[in-house]
């Protein structure tokens, strides 16, 4: 989105290196993410897309051997700084994982989990509203409104993934990270989620990792291409797909890779 013709940068990463133990997984990544746009990260398997995505909400903290260097600036604030509070950070930056991972609780409890721990609802009514809105936004409301108090694990794969998206948006994050959110889904569910992403970008900044070129082209405005831990090229999706500067990018996009 442009304000007075100037791109608004939401996330600004500078010289990011990531190591798993001795092995370096990301080399000097410099990538800016535009606000209220969808940015797609593409690249062959193992090139470090998920690793980069997990840097943005410090999920790599969970992995003992993982070390992150460099700066990632969100809202003028370096999230790798010691003073950064991960809990508050993750409240602002939601995440949807590759495999749906609903909690073994009811649908309602799955959605109300975030708002409860962050104290977002003062009353039961308010909470009901949050749950309903989140589910509506995730295009799941119609399917589950009569079974809110049944286990979330009882839903189909596509429904579970939308439940996870609803869970992520329930705390009104500024950024949503999605790691191959459609890899376990059928074309119809995929189309629903792509539609949803388009809808969500009004209120959220979205970064999506995908293996589907078509999907990247369909949903994203910006694209970054990773290869062997390096960011080879990034820019507007149109440009990357129509006339990439780098040969490797071109090869990958046209499917002539490796």
């Amino acid at each position: 989105m442009k304000k007075n013709g100037v791109k608004m940068i939401k996330i600004n990463s500078k010289n990011v290196d990531v190591f798993y133990g001795k092995k370096q997984a990301l080399f000097n990544i410099n990538l800016d993410i535009e606000e209220n746009q969808v940015t797609a990260l593409i690249g062959p398997s193992g090139c470090g897309k998920s690793t980069f995505l997990r840097c943005l909400n410090r999920m790599n903290d969970v992995i003992d051997i993982c070390r992150v260097k460099g700066q990632i600036i969100i809202n003028d604030f370096d999230i790798n700084d010691k003073s950064c509070d991960v809990v508050r950070l993750r409240e602002k930056i939601g995440m949807v994982f590759q495999k749906p991972n609903p909690f073994p609780k009811t649908i309602y409890e799955n959605i109300s989990y975030g708002p409860t721990i962050h104290g977002m609802a003062q009353s039961k009514n308010e909470m009901d509203e949050i749950v309903e809105n989140s589910l509506k936004k995730a295009a799941l409301w119609e399917e589950v409104k009569d079974r809110l108090h049944e286990p979330g694990t009882g839903l189909s794969g596509g429904q579970q993934q939308r439940l996870c998206i609803a869970r992520a948006i329930s705390v009104k994050p500024e950024v949503i990270l999605m790691d191959e959110p459609c890899s376990a889904l059928d074309p119809i569910a995929t189309a629903q989620i792509e539609e949803l992403i388009d809808e969500l970008k009004k209120d959220h900044t979205i970064i999506i990792v995908t293996h589907s070129m078509a999907q990247a082209a369909r949903v994203s405005q910006n694209t970054g291409f990773f290869h062997l831990g390096e960011l080879i090229e990034h820019g507007s999706t149109d440009k990357i797909f129509k006339n990439p500067e780098n040969k490797r990018t071109q090869d990958y996009i046209t499917g002539r890779f490796g």
């Binding site: 509070d85 809990v87 508050r88 721990i117 962050h118 104290g119």
Partner: protein
């Protein structure tokens, strides 16, 4: 609004701190108990690994032994060492009264005769000569020397007389009392005399029982688990069996002891007090543990592996035997070892099937009467003599050592060989 958030966040962090504090205190408490436990056992038990010896000069006088000039080996075997042994002790104080002579005799174990005999058999040329011989001190003097015995009690409340103490102190002064590693604790069977009691019989009894238990429980349990997990249809009957196996795992061990008593001894008339019966009883107890462990690790093998094998045209049997079972073995084995370790520490069922009997021979087969380590502890703990107190702790140390080794082994198997399926 923002202020509220700040407040909430702070209280969440306080909750976090509290939670960590609870966790840490729980661990601290558990460690504290463990330390007390280990400390008490070690501090009372370590002295049992030392044994006190009196070094007494023995004059191998042929006449006292009623021996001829040139005795043959058999003569030496058959000779009467009792008088010689008695004389040796009396020589410690030539002016002793009859009552005091009795005290002198009681300063060593009743093995003193045998210890002197062994010395001569080792070196027949000693006849007519005098040599210093190591004699096992009586358990009371042993305790005195180790400092476990209250010397300042009035004499009539002590098991050591003043006279014995006097002679003993003289010996100490002359450097004739020595403390050495107590090998006999490991090589002697149980005895009524604390200074001669060892764990050899109960140790062998435990080994035999565990082997019997393993031989019976392992194959049965593994086969049952494989059948239930891989082949059995899912219906009410198998559900019922499953519930029952879980229940059996939680049944107090003494009930299995009753079962052993009521069926193995009463109906099948198997010999009482033997490791065979003990092992069978323990195997009843270990069976559910192994079945549960084996089933859990079979369950943990992802279905994709089975499907891959089946898709290659392997039969159900081949799939199970070639892929599923080998992959489940680490979990099964570690479960088995843990089950055996539990069985090794079990007391109650063995007492019921009579393995609590006093056995002063070392069993050579599972059909000989025997005790087991935990039962030995029980027997000694019930003895009133002070000499057994340290033995109890020492025996616990030996058993603990075994249990720790077994558990370590189970851990190693698990972490080395178990695959993590994500």
């Amino acid at each position: 609004m923002n202020k509220n958030k700040e407040k909430l966040l702070n209280s969440r962090y306080r909750a976090e701190k509290r939670f960590q504090f609870y966790g840490k205190s729980a661990i601290f408490l558990a460690l504290l108990f463990l330390t007390i436990f280990i400390f008490k056992i070690f501090s009372t038990g370590y002295t049992a690994f030392q044994k006190t010896w009196l070094i007494v000069p023995v004059t191998f006088d042929a006449e006292t032994m009623y021996l001829d000039e040139n005795p043959s080996k058999e003569d030496l075997e058959d000779a009467d060492y009792f008088d010689l042994a008695l004389q040796t002790m009396f020589n410690l104080d030539k002016s002793a009264s009859e009552k005091q002579q009795n005290d002198l005799k009681r300063m060593v174990s009743y093995f003193f005769e045998r210890e002197i005999k062994r010395e001569l058999l080792n070196d027949p040329s000693l006849i007519g000569k005098t040599k210093d011989v190591y004699l096992t001190a009586s358990d009371d003097l042993d305790q005195v020397f180790k400092g476990n015995y209250p010397r300042d009690l009035p004499e009539d409340q002590r098991r050591v007389t003043d006279y014995q103490l006097k002679i003993f102190d003289q010996l100490v002064e002359q450097g004739r009392v020595e403390s050495k590693f107590n090998l006999s604790f490991f090589t002697y069977p149980d005895s009524r005399e604390a200074e001669l009691a060892g764990i050899a019989s109960s140790f062998m009894g435990s080994i035999f029982s565990i082997v019997v238990c393993l031989v019976i429980a392992f194959p049965v349990a593994v086969l049952a688990a494989i059948y239930l997990e891989e082949f059995a249809p899912k219906n009410r009957f198998t559900d019922f069996i499953e519930v029952n196996i879980n229940n059996l795992a939680a049944v107090p061990s003494i009930v299995f002891g009753l079962l052993g008593l009521g069926i193995l001894l009463a109906v099948f008339q198997l010999p009482r007090s033997t490791p065979l019966v003990g092992g069978i009883t323990l195997s009843l107890m270990t069976l559910p543990t192994i079945i549960i462990a084996c089933r859990a690790s079979l369950k943990a093998v992802p279905p994709s592996i089975r499907e891959a094998a089946l898709a290659m045209g392997a039969s159900k049997m081949q799939t199970t035997m070639h892929h599923t079972v080998p992959l489940s073995m680490p979990g099964t084995l570690s479960g088995t070892i843990i089950g055996l370790a539990q069985a090794l520490g079990e007391t109650a069922p063995l007492i019921l099937i009579g393995m609590v009997a006093f056995v002063n021979t070392i069993p050579g087969s599972p059909l000989d009467p025997a005790a087991s380590l935990p039962v030995q502890i029980y027997i000694w703990a019930e003895s009133a003599e002070r000499g057994f107190v340290e033995k109890v702790s020492a025996c616990i140390m030996v058993l603990l050592g075994f249990l720790i080794i077994m558990n370590l082994f189970a851990q190693i198997i698990r972490h080395k060989f178990e695959k993590k399926w994500s």
